[in-house]
């Protein structure tokens, strides 16, 4: 029986070549662009795929990081950026632009491994290329009882100076009540 501490397991993470990863994601988006004509629909599909990834990925994240429940959104933001993004994408986005009630914040992605070789074609200027990240965050956070809305408000691909992902807490979910007697 192996008794490994979570930190030890995290160190064993297998790595893949970043270019292979970037190109794989790129071809996935390219295929979606072929399959769906509407830019909005492509964005939605990416978000949906991300969601389905997120609801499973969060378990891997919890198992590997061993992180406990967060006390507030500040905590959550820290864990997302410093542990989550670091673990899966090797980057640490900057947290900023907190709303006054502390329920909304931005992740500034100084670098984004998904978009290394990407240039948006003129007919798809509305494409949110990295929209899968929004879905992943929404799915993963929903599994830890936080219903959020995630969207890109700035995107370096569209000529903005930075890439900014906005996360807004909509509701804290409660444990599900057991079904009543039939």
């Amino acid at each position: 029986m192996s008794r490994q501490a979570p930190a030890v397991r995290a160190a064993e993470v297998k790595k893949i070549n970043v270019e292979l990863f970037t190109l794989t994601y790129g071809s996935l988006v390219a295929q979606l662009v072929k399959d769906y004509e509407e830019t909005n629909e492509i964005n939605n599909q990416l978000e949906k795929m991300g969601y389905n990834i997120g609801i499973r990925l969060v378990e891997d994240f919890l198992a590997r990081s061993g992180s406990a429940k967060c006390q507030d959104m500040k905590d959550t933001a820290d864990v997302i950026s410093k542990v989550g993004f670091k673990m899966f994408l090797g980057i640490t986005p900057t947290i900023s632009n907190w709303s006054a009630d502390g329920n909304e914040f931005s992740l500034i992605l100084d670098e984004n491994p998904l978009t290394d070789f990407v240039e948006l074609p003129p007919e798809h200027q509305g494409l949110s290329f990295s929209n899968i990240l929004c879905g992943v965050l929404r799915g993963a956070l929903e599994m830890v009882q936080l219903k959020v809305e995630a969207r890109f408000v700035k995107d370096a691909l569209k000529g903005d100076d930075t890439t900014e992902l906005r996360i807004k807490l909509i509701q804290k979910l409660q444990d599900e009540v057991p079904p009543g007697e039939d």
Binding site: P6, V144, E176
Partner: protein, 138 residues
Amino acid sequence: MIYNFYIFNRHGTCIYEAEWTRPRKAQMSKEEEYKLMYGMLYSIKSFVQRLSPKPSKDGFYYYSTSAYKLHFYESPSGIKFVMNTDPTVGDIREILRQIYSNIYVEFAVKNPLCNLEQWIDSELFRDKLETFVQGLKI
């Protein structure tokens, strides 16, 4: 000695059960048993939280009777692991946590054919769990 083991998902559905030593069968159907079990876990959890003099993160760890001890571990994502053992067994939360991170996550969550809302119908998962439990010195 380990008696039996359940996994409940975040909706309170029993998605796995295994039995090792259970000479006296429960006086009810399996469905009834799972439903009662989840209802009890839910009630104890919420009662424990309301009664707690300090904010607690983890809920309860175990309860014990003269005949068995029920151990409980819940992942932050709400997957609940329950193991019944004989009352002399010590703290096995770490073992339940390992079942979560090394078996459930690796062989159920990462298996794309495994529907997370339903019973875990995977031989690989069953084998891994079986080997893990057989290797335990309790």
